[in-house]
Point group: C2
Chain length 228, copies 2
DNA sequence: CGGGTGCTTGACAGTAATCAACTTCAGTGG
DNA sequence: CCACTGAAGTTGATTACTGTCAAGCACCCG
């Protein structure tokens, strides 16, 4: 088995594990695969820009991609961070024809890249299998984004960080320990914070038994965090 | 023609003009109509609560419904305001089984109420027409919600208010004039502001030629607003 | 060892939430 | 028709939070 073939097998595995394809039957998945090409991205690579005509949507196979908007003065605000299994740009399959945000790799990333028109054609003619899978994926994204709005509006920086840490150590008993999936600056953006604010939030949480060593987080008392 | 029939005709018209049904063929629309009942709500009526088992989703035929989350201390944050033509709870058709937010009428409102299981059945068996319509609706909601996150994170209170006013007088020449679609307290919630903050934002905009008389807004210089 | 990058810390300013008092307005009933 | 009531909106004073700027630290890699 040569190296290319190995790589293709890995791609295929990751492709199958995507949220979009997870609940799909084989036939639909194969049809979808026909619309896909694959792309490797390096950190800071631009996937697409706000305002570009929309030609593809994407699934993240590995690594992370950040979606963000820019203000007129050039300030950036992240609106979503996509990790392995997430899709983005899929909101354009059934609505819209230009990207409404920037997408940039935040890490070495592998992406599946779907031709929008081909996918639209399949979704029109396959009896609804693909449309249902896409609708399901969109539902998840919508719920996540609504959650984000509520989180931003209801909780302070420290609360948002505490909440994020709790999500990450779900299922673990105290003392829990894990490694942040990405850089702190990206986490700050995901939580709607300046990097300095994230740093300060960690400092505040130190008093509640949260130890931070680089990307390694140790949580002594999970219940204390829940009370923040 | 008796009164009930008239009312039904009005319902039907509003039903057809819904975003969900707008691009639908007749057959699909009729099938969907079979899943619907109608409900009249009075201001502050609760449509459903966060955590309730999900049995229906809704379209707004007239009036307004606010969707909100509550913090542990009971503070409320609006995550979306639905007006005529909007749907809510439709994120549960293909994912999830409990409501993830509260829904409350913010005005006298008429709602179409769709049985989730019936809709799911149709979406499985109609060849994809309904699934595509739902996916399209979800796409719009997702785009709107992402826009909201970006708006919250990038813009100040005054900028968000100015932006909202500009949206409302789209197409009008200066001096533009219109009536707010709903109470200021609800607008404040929609923009992620306390009512006091909205009031102060209006006060600031007065200097830029925005006159506020109750719900009537007059804008002397549209370009000045765009520069905020 | 230099030099970049990412992160942290301090000082400060700006923005918006909160609380409280007051005004306006609409609807109600005498 | 007018006085009363309660809700909605405004304004002021204060506080809390977070963004920004600037400086310094830590780590990684050539």
């Amino acid at each position: 088995m040569n190296r290319t073939l190995l790589l293709n097998e890995r791609k295929k595995t990751l492709f199958v594990e995507t949220k979009l394809t997870a609940a799909m039957d084989m036939a639909t998945m194969n049809r979808l695969m026909e619309c896909a090409t694959f792309a490797n991205c390096y950190p800071r690579d631009v996937v697409f820009r706000e305002g570009d005509p929309a030609t593809h949507f994407y699934s993240v196979l590995s690594g992370y991609v950040r979606l963000f908007r820019q203000s007129s003065e050039g300030r950036e605000a992240d609106i979503r961070v996509c990790g392995p299994g997430d899709s983005f740009g899929d909101d354009l399959i059934f609505a819209g024809d230009t990207y409404e945000y920037h997408a940039q790799a935040a890490d070495k990333a592998m992406l599946a890249r779907y031709d929008l028109n081909k996918v639209r054609n399949i979704a029109e003619t396959d009896g609804g299998m693909l449309a249902r899978a896409i609708a399901s994926s969109l539902s998840g994204e919508l719920q996540e984004t609504l959650e984000c709005v509520a989180n931003d509006r209801l909780n302070t920086a420290v609360q948002r960080v505490a909440y994020y840490l709790l999500e990450q150590c779900e299922g673990q008993d105290a003392p829990a320990s894990f490694r942040l999936a990405f850089q702190k600056s990206l986490l700050a953006g995901k939580l709607g914070l300046a990097p300095e604010a994230l740093s300060r939030a960690f400092a505040t949480l130190k008093d509640l038994g949260v130890q931070v060593h680089g990307r390694i987080i140790e949580i002594e008392d999970i219940d204390a965090l829940k009370r923040v």
